[in-house]
Symmetry: C2
Subunit: 257 residues, 2 copies
Amino acid sequence: MITVVKIGGNVIDNEAALERFVADFAQLPSPKILIHGGGKLATRLAEKLEIPTTMVEGRRVTDAATLDVVTMVYAGLLNKRIVAKLQREGCNALGFSGADGNMIPATRRNPEPLDYGFVGDIEAENINRNLLSSLLESGVTPVFCAITHDTEGTLLNSNADSVASAVAVAAATIAPTDLVFCFEKQGVLRDIDDENSAIPLITKADYPTLRSEGIISKGMIPKIDNAFRAIDEGVTSVTIKHSEQLNNTEAGTTIKR
Amino acid sequence: MITVVKIGGNVIDNEAALERFVADFAQLPSPKILIHGGGKLATRLAEKLEIPTTMVEGRRVTDAATLDVVTMVYAGLLNKRIVAKLQREGCNALGFSGADGNMIPATRRNPEPLDYGFVGDIEAENINRNLLSSLLESGVTPVFCAITHDTEGTLLNSNADSVASAVAVAAATIAPTDLVFCFEKQGVLRDIDDENSAIPLITKADYPTLRSEGIISKGMIPKIDNAFRAIDEGVTSVTIKHSEQLNNTEAGTTIKR
């Protein structure tokens, strides 16, 4: 069983949370894979460097200067900090951008009708499964940031959730794979104001009712849709849980066929 | 035969030189390893961020803010740019800091009598030869920056020439290894003003005469001393040549036992 874990800003931006997560993740049985998002550091660095933020229809554009910033912060500072901490905990972590070992080839998003700049979309089937498999077999824990490449020499900025899903789908062709999204809530909450109301299990049969009752709405819908897509493509289960509950198998919301 | 190549600022700071080097390096027969230095980008970034430069006895101190800058630039921007370019040329490059896969554990330099901050000294015998060997065997080309780690969770800034020598000595325990230092001159010049005067071969027997004649002096002495040290520790040959001459086997100065 391979475990793929994704962490985002709530862990990365908080040194104490990151330390706790790293210790918990190191204790997870191998084989395992970590994907990390970016957090606020890249935005802060761009501000300090006075790199203007370009928005298109409410979304940030990755121009050349912004690509350099996210490459420095995600593939450099954050990735290497996390790898060094995991090494300290005895976990043989090895950091990756998608360019390394051609692990995650991506396609630059069509600039028409809206040009988001150096943004890369990925397909699970293009992930370098042979290298992934041989690393996992030799006890290495790959740690991915969401920087990918177009195989023509250009780095691209990808969505960390999409990287996590694609890596999990690729891993599922090697061995049964569980995908875990860590975030700042205890799971999919039945009552948004009650952190103790996480729905333990959502199946395809339950999903329409939960949506029609309005329990799953807004920002949670794409998350659950993505989870079911990953499951359709071979992932065994997708769990959404608080980052502090990584090793609590009872915690969070698990999505299964 | 393994080839270990080190490039420095003269290649990294010049986009045209880097493109040419990458194309040449991709053509070198495998197995091969690249080590890159830093160039001027880190200094420029530190200036933009108004991170003060601390000097101790004429040498730059790597304080915590400077460590973040060099980690971003060396392990992030430069390493991933080089890896993406090599991938474009069909070379299956995989970028490394010393923390990744615990490839280069280092020891933080004693803060007494002079504290250089987060600076790491390395020993060839500590390099992760098993991982290096299995990557080379599977056709991967490791690309190292000079960021290492202390195995206790802290990243360290190391000297890229020292990384190259240590990696070559470690590689030499896997297969016969040639080490190539690319720089801005044609080699060790018999006449400093004549780029066509490179001495083709220096052996241990020649070295004392070349020094007493003043042909090898100043900055070249530690380079040649380090070359002989690498050879004493198992490297077959060390070549010092211009980065544009990588694939010209007649070019540069080769140092052999």
